[in-house]
C-alpha cells in the first residue's frame, strides 16, 4: 500500500470514528455489555472508605508523549472516577508511575477528583522505564507498608506485573489489572482478581461514571469491533471458498451465519 492510500485510509478512519461518536451521542443511551472486571470496583472503594485505607492506582509505564498516550488518558479518566467515589474516606489514594510524563497527568487527576488537597505526597514516580523490575519491586514495598485496600493497575505493564500482584495476593489485597503489553495482559489474567482485556480499559470510564461522552465512546468501540469481526469473517469465508471449491455459497453462508450467531451469543454473555 503506497503512502497516499495509507494517508487517505487513516483520514477516513479518523473521520468515520468522529462521525460514529457524534451519532452515538444523539442516540438514546442503550444498555452496555457487561464487563465483569469492573463490577467489583464499587465494593473495593467502599472497603477503602470503611477501613480508612488508601486505594493504589498505577499507570505503569504509560505516559503522555509516547505511543501509549491514549492509554494513559483512559487510565486517568478511570482513576478520576475511582478517586471521586472514594472521596468520602479519609485516606487519599496513592498513584504510582514509572513514566515521568504521567506525573503531571496523575497530579491533575488527583487534584480534580480529591478536592481536599492532601494528595501531592501520594504520587510516586519510580524512575525506571518500561518493563522495569525495580519499579515492580518498589511497589511490593508499597503493598506491605501502605496496606492499600485494593490495587487498580491500569496502564502499561510487562511480566514484572507478577511481582506486584503476587505481593498483593499474599497480603489479601484485591487487584484489578490491565495492560497494553501482551505479556502483562497474560500475567494480569492469571494473577489478578479481575482483569480487563484489550479495549476494555478504554471503555472502563463509561462503566464507572454517568458521563454520556464516555458511554458513546464505549458504544463506538463496540461498533468498530463488530465491523472488524464481520470483515474478518467475510475474508475468512472468501478464502475458504477458494480453498474448497466443492463447497457452494449456501454452505458458506450457513457457516457464516453460525459464526455470527456464536459471536452474538458470546457478546451477550460477556
Amino acid at each position: 500500500m503506497d503512502e497516499t492510500t495509507l494517508q487517505v485510509y487513516s483520514g477516513l478512519i479518523a473521520l468515520a470514528t468522529a462521525l460514529l461518536v457524534f451519532v452515538a451521542r444523539i442516540w438514546r443511551r442503550r444498555a452496555q455489555r457487561r464487563i465483569a472486571g469492573l463490577e467489583r470496583l464499587p465494593a473495593w472503594t467502599g472497603r477503602a472508605i470503611e477501613t480508612n485505607r488508601p486505594l493504589h492506582l498505577s499507570f505503569g509505564s504509560a505516559g503522555i508523549g509516547g505511543d501509549n498516550t491514549p492509554l494513559a488518558l483512559a487510565g486517568a479518566e478511570l482513576f478520576h472516577q475511582i478517586i471521586e467515589g472514594a472521596e468520602a474516606g479519609d485516606a487519599p489514594p496513592m498513584m504510582s508511575m514509572s513514566e515521568a510524563m504521567s506525573l503531571p497527568l496523575a497530579q491533575d487527576t488527583a487534584r480534580r477528583a480529591w478536592k481536599r488537597g492532601d494528595h501531592l505526597a501520594r504520587l510516586r514516580w519510580l524512575p525506571s522505564g518500561r518493563r522495569s523490575l525495580a519499579f515492580a519491586a518498589a511497589l511490593t514495598d508499597t503493598a506491605r507498608n501502605e496496606e492499600p485496600a485494593a490495587h487498580v493497575l491500569a496502564g502499561s505493564f510487562g511480566p514484572e506485573l507478577a511481582l506486584i500482584l503476587d505481593s498483593a495476593e499474599r497480603r489479601g489485597q484485591p487487584s484489578l489489572a490491565a495492560s497494553d503489553q501482551l505479556a502483562g495482559q497474560a500475567v494480569a489474567f492469571a494473577l489478578a482478581d479481575e482483569a480487563l482485556i484489550g479495549e476494555e480499559l478504554f471503555a472502563a470510564p463509561a462503566y464507572v461514571s454517568d458521563d454520556r461522552r464516555a458511554g458513546s465512546d464505549a458504544v463506538v468501540m463496540d461498533l468498530w469491533r463488530a465491523f472488524v469481526i464481520i470483515g474478518v469473517t467475510i475474508a475468512l469465508l472468501l478464502q475458504f471458498s477458494q480453498l474448497m471449491p466443492e463447497y457452494n455459497w449456501p454452505v458458506l453462508a450457513g457457516i457464516g451465519a453460525v459464526l455470527l450467531i456464536l459471536g452474538l451469543v458470546g457478546y451477550r454473555r460477556s
Binding site: 503506497d2 461518536v21 479518566e77 505526597a121 514516580w125 523490575l133 511480566p159 468498530w224
Partner: protein, 216 residues
C-alpha cells in the same frame, strides 16, 4: 461555575482542538508531494504542510525532558517526607541517589556502579519473577474455576513440558509450535486490534477537546 471559569474551559478546549487538528492534518498529509499530484512546487508545499507537526513534536520532546526534572523533584519531596517519618528504605533511596550523582560527577563513563549493583539486583528480581509467575499460575484454578482457567493451565503445562529437552516429549513440540503460530498469534492480533481501535476513539476525544482535562 462562574463566567471566567467557563471562558477558561472554552478557551482550553478550543486550543486543544486547534492544536490537535493542525497536528493531525500535518502528520497525516505532510511530507508527501503525491497528494499535490506532483505539480511544480508540490515538494515545497508538502514540506510546509509537514512543518507544524514537526515543530509540535519537537516541543513535546522538550516538555518530556522537563518532566524528568519534575519527577526528580517529586521523588525527593516524597522520600524526604518519608525519612522524616522514620522510613528506612526511603533513606536508602536518597543515599543511593546522592551516591549515583556523586559517582557520575567524579567518574564519568565508569559503568562499574551499574555493573556491581544494578545488574545483580535486576537479575535476582528476574529469578524472583519466575517464582512469582509459577506460584501465580498454580493459583489460577482457585481464582478462575471455569473453562478459560482450565484452558490457561493446560496451555501453560503443555508449553512448559514441550520446553523440557527430553526425547520422549518431542511430539509435544509440534503442538507447542502450532499453538504459538496459530491461536496465540491470532489472539495477539485480536488484542492489538482492540487496543488500536480504542486508541483511535480515545484520540478523537482528545482531539475534539472533549477530554476531562479540558473540561475543568
Amino acid at each position: 461555575m462562574n463566567f471566567g471559569q467557563r471562558l477558561g474551559i472554552a478557551l482550553s478546549a478550543f486550543v486543544a482542538f486547534a492544536v490537535g487538528a493542525i497536528a493531525v492534518t500535518s502528520l497525516l498529509l505532510g511530507d508527501n508531494p503525491a497528494i499535490f499530484n506532483n505539480q511544480p512546487g508540490s515538494e515545497r508545499a508538502a514540506e510546509l504542510l509537514a512543518l507544524p507537526g514537526d515543530v509540535l513534536l519537537r516541543l513535546v520532546v522538550i516538555v518530556i525532558s522537563l518532566s524528568v526534572v519534575i519527577g526528580i523533584a517529586n521523588l525527593l519531596y516524597v522520600h524526604v517526607g518519608r525519612v522524616a517519618r522514620g522510613k528506612v528504605y526511603s533513606g536508602a533511596l536518597l543515599a543511593s541517589f546522592g551516591v549515583a550523582i556523586f559517582w557520575h560527577l567524579t567518574r564519568q563513563g565508569d559503568p562499574s556502579l551499574l555493573e556491581a549493583v544494578q545488574l545483580p539486583i535486576e537479575s535476582s528480581l528476574a529469578a524472583l519473577l519466575f517464582v512469582s509467575l509459577v506460584a501465580g499460575a498454580s493459583r489460577v484454578m482457585q481464582k478462575r474455576a471455569d473453562v478459560w482457567g482450565l484452558l490457561f493451565v493446560a496451555v501453560v503445562v503443555l508449553v512448559l513440558l514441550a520446553s523440557v529437552p527430553l526425547a520422549e516429549l518431542a511430539p509435544l513440540r509440534a503442538w507447542r509450535d502450532w499453538l504459538m503460530r496459530v491461536p496465540v498469534s491470532a489472539g495477539a492480533r485480536a488484542f492489538l486490534l482492540g487496543i488500536a481501535m480504542a486508541t483511535v476513539v480515545t484520540g478523537q476525544r482528545v482531539l475534539l477537546g472533549q477530554d476531562r482535562s479540558y473540561r475543568g
